[in-house]
Symmetry: C2
Subunit: 610 residues, 2 copies
């Protein structure tokens, strides 16, 4: 539903942006010369918070209960959406941030911190500019000057929207099975498009004047599979060279899915060229003489960014659910303390199990945020550092972290929001308290933009082997060096002992994988990949949240326990400790199960499933 009574922990957001990440370093880069430094952070994120609370909060009920409807072949959004989108665009929080070439553009780190806040209040609406933002990146990086001039200004201003068109009814995770076709016309670079796609988020809607679809299609004669796919810009309305809108481009919305959540997002089926009048602009070059095309690589520009945005869906919803549960637990009176059973009735936050659930939520969302924001930071360095070695290192860290961000955050969200619902007791499933809507809204995030299994294959099969394993080595070194440098820090001995064990266990998992490989047991990787991604994420999250814990402990020492801000730092130290002791400590279990190596799931005949 999104949340009417929006809460957000801005202290935590600012800790990440102003204290933990080295943002001064980013702001000192030429790309960000228009900024003073971290002092710029407060006004930006505070404005975002206010817009989330005051503009997106009030449309929460419209988002869930009215939603985006399919009426007479068109998608109609609630009127309140159009007004909200206008404010988002005016405030510069929309797709304009995807413009990496304009003076004064925000680092990803800040842009996505803003997105986190907005998504926490309304997961549906962020797709309207989140996908435009991906389209802008693709056109900016791969489009000709002609295409840039034609499409970028109105995408950036938010007058037009962008979408991402991969999935077909017979081609979901298997993108290579796409059958949408493109036929050259007499105009170079312009192709006739024919085919159908499904699951196109915001594939039609009335919040924008025109929609710019980024469509994967196969040029006649190109090879089969992903390598033969090209990427096309297919506008809903053709665009004349003077920028004025031309004819309807024969992109028909044939239906909108009814979903369990994100009702404010139309999930459209699109048909291109039903009347043979659909045209698209090819991005980049036509397929080469071997039929190899550039589309999938171009689409990955967009996909990588969308994956990172998807990770924020998991983070934002979990975080909002936690804060709603926390506030409820502070008010709701029920039962007595276990340590004083005859004493007065207390608020449920005084019960041990409520504390456990709140702490799981607090610590895990903070660990997820550490992972995701660090990944944004690496993405910025990879783009904007002046040192090529640093760019390369950061690019590797981004590549290895991105699938963890996407899969870990969206998988955890289902569990964390469950704990928030449970904290509310019976009210947790009542729509009045809205927390149930976060579970409904977030579920799809483990599926789209590459299922979490696809992420795990990407991590273990592709990212861990990038640059002959150098990227993996850098990542492991980052963790082991951190442990080595800090293992004797007073008060954190147990945490580092667990981290050392967990690192050894994770390396044990990788050795076991190698062993299985040598034995020709190649199915062990896909069979255990999701669990390995989980273990990798927990290990890395442990390293990052513990880094935050050390920083917080230092601040505490500096400020003393009576400083007004001390409670935040104590909470941070507790989060680090809790996460390492209760979560990271289980990586050994994944190792154990992997070494047991049960293959009954794949050995069993299919018919034995009944």
């Amino acid at each position: 539903m999104a949340i009417t009574n929006f809460l957000y922990d801005m202290r935590e957001v600012k800790f990440v942006l102003k204290e933990w990440l080295d943002m001064e370093k980013l702001f000192s880069l030429p790309a960000y010369r228009d900024y003073y430094g971290v002092d710029d952070v407060d006004p930006i994120v505070d404005t975002t918070f206010k817009i989330a609370r005051d503009i997106l909060g009030p449309i929460a009920k419209d988002t869930d209960q009215i939603g985006a409807r399919f009426i007479d072949g068109q998608v109609v959004t609630p009127d309140s959406f159009k007004k909200a989108m206008a404010t988002i665009n005016e405030a510069g929080l929309g797709a304009s941030n995807a413009d990496r070439e304009v003076e004064g553009h925000l680092p990803y780190t800040i842009y996505l911190a803003n997105l986190e806040i907005l998504a926490a209040d309304n997961l549906s609406i962020i797709a309207y500019w989140g996908l435009s933002s991906g389209a802008i990146s693709v056109i900016q990086q791969h489009g000709s000057e002609y295409l840039k001039q034609k499409f970028l200004p109105k995408l950036i201003s938010g007058e037009w929207g962008g979408t991402m068109n991969l999935t077909e009814a017979g081609a979901g995770s298997d993108v290579g099975a796409n059958v949408t076709k493109a036929f050259p016309t007499e105009t170079p670079g312009v192709y006739k498009i024919k085919g159908n796609k499904i699951f196109i988020t915001t594939g039609d809607n009335d919040t924008v004047e025109n929609i710019v679809h980024m469509v994967l299609a196969r040029v006649e004669g190109a090879r089969d599979g992903v390598a033969g796919l090209s990427l096309f810009i297919v506008p809903k309305y053709w665009v004349e060279d003077d920028g004025s809108p031309g004819n309807f481009n024969d992109v028909i919305c044939t239906g909108v899915e009814e979903k369990m959540g994100v009702h404010g997002q139309p999930t459209c089926s699109l048909s291109y060229g039903e009347n043979n009048e659909c045209y698209g602009y090819l991005i980049g070059d036509p397929p080469d003489e071997k039929g190899r095309a550039q589309g999938i690589a171009q689409m990955f520009t967009m996909m990588n960014e969308e994956r990172l945005i998807t990770s924020f869906q998991g983070l934002s919803s979990s975080s909002e659910a936690f804060l709603q549960a926390r506030d409820y637990a502070k008010q709701r009176i029920q039962g007595t303390k276990t340590t004083d059973p005859k004493g007065p009735k207390v608020r449920i936050i005084e019960h041990e199990d409520i504390r456990r659930m709140l702490m799981v939520q607090k610590a895990t969302t903070e660990a997820m945020r550490a992972l995701i924001m660090k990944t944004c930071y690496y993405l910025d360095l990879a783009h904007d550092s002046e040192d090529p070695e640093e760019r390369r290192f950061a690019e590797g860290m981004f590549q290895i972290s991105n699938p963890m961000c996407k899969a870990y955050a969206t998988d955890q969200a289902w569990l964390l929001i469950r704990d928030a619902i449970q904290t509310f007791g019976g009210y947790g499933v009542c729509t009045e308290y809205e927390v149930e809507s976060l579970a409904r809204d977030v579920k799809v995030s483990s599926i789209w933009e590459g299922t979490n299994y696809v992420q795990s294959l990407d991590l273990i099969g592709r990212k861990f082997t990038m640059e002959k394993g150098q990227v993996y080595k850098n990542w492991i070194t980052d963790i082991s060096t951190f442990i080595e440098n800090n293992k004797n820090k007073a008060g954190f001995e147990k945490e580092f002992e667990i981290m050392s064990e967990a690192l050894a266990d994770f390396q044990g998992i990788m050795q076991q994988l190698q062993k299985y490989g040598q034995e020709g047991k190649n199915q062990m990787l896909p069979l255990f990949a999701t669990r390995m991604l989980d273990a990798a994420s927990q290990l890395y999250c442990g390293r990052l949240i513990l880094d935050q814990g050390l920083l917080a402990a230092g601040k505490l020492q500096e400020l003393g326990d009576y400083h007004y801000d001390a409670k935040f730092y104590r909470g941070k130290v507790a989060s680090a400790s809790f996460y390492v002791k209760n979560v990271v400590s289980q990586i050994g279990f994944v190792r154990k199960v992997f070494e047991i190596g049960d293959t009954s799931a794949i050995d069993m005949d299919e018919e034995c499933f009944g």
Copy 2:
């Protein structure tokens, strides 16, 4: 939503009822002398399956999309509900089964196996007779002859419905905080009732002529807390002594909650005596001179049964979700095999990760079913065995298993249905495929009838200490004897090695608990109780599913691999193996975390949560 295209694994249900549980023993008891024996099972459960498929399936969409509506102060159900309820009653699948005194009544084991099948198709509708069934039990066990004659016949026939009225706005898990009052009248046994309750499932509805509310209230002068609560029969319409319906009894439905799921179940707020004209019959005796009343013990007759029924909600939904996912995976073509990447496109059931998810679902639902059906079996023995020692043993096993059934099955359901949704890919969140509705419907089951935390306190704090720990000892002996007797069974060596380790780990957890107790760390129990219940359930489920696996392995040896039924038994062996190796193996992790004993969640100041 419930499921239009209903599937159920009747082979598995019959394995449990006809091969695994010793039903011949039950049927040979005097209470069941009207039955021939296990040959009676097939016609009963086959009829139930047909009614689920043909009567409940077609009303699935009405259940979710129309649901129970609150119109002009009354709850209105879809017309199709009334017809379905009539069929359920005619077929003898309704509340009539709660009548334990009638000749030819079903054992709980069969009655609840039927309920599993019906619940799998429509979780909403089973509440309509599930709660009546609890009311019947209470009246039959604790009511006077007068009350029995007045209320039982029409509750049993299904003409009237029963409900369970505990929760008040200020008294959820803390039942003792109830403030609904009862005042004696001039008629002995009749009290004036005044108060309000919330979350009363089917608290008002038009499927029955009258509603018999079982209401907890405090007689003027009774003591505070649960010990002072009495239980009253408060009909919606007063019942004259000739059985004819009298006046409206001033029980007003003041509202119906909007919920994420089970839309077919009205969750009502009730007001008693707003016009001072609400009367109820006291069950049993008035509070004694010390103000102690009998209500809570009587309510627990109902509550224990409702907890067991709730466990079926978790089991049924998970099982249905699995079967829907399995059938989808068998049809949906996507991608190539990892072992033949250039080969033909295959159905997704040929992918390792889909196999893993299906196997998690298959094995865990079977383990849950083993646990729950064994518990039903013990409940029957506890009631009907002729041997008092056996009754006592069985009662203990029922008492210890019931909170595990309730909490483990409903917690797992959220995870298992998630895996079913994930198997469907993007379609998993679309209402068209209905699997998403199972997640929405099942969520509340971890909360109502005692939250899963309450179950864990019941297990560790109460059940494990019953009869000075004898019940716990019996339960542990059951597991250790099973391991001892079978640990050398060929083909199961690894499984029993893991079981032995898991048993030792579980006992280690209990020793650690004792140690914490000796150190005065009494908050460790509530802080870790939910994890301990999980570990206990996994251990016991491992013991039971492995028992099934051994039985299946024996059958396989007997029938040979080419017998038409061999695939079922191979599937069962695989489930046992998978569950032990992938799930039971993690009990050591709970021990490890408990020994680390992190208390940051309770040590931290509340204000550190932000």
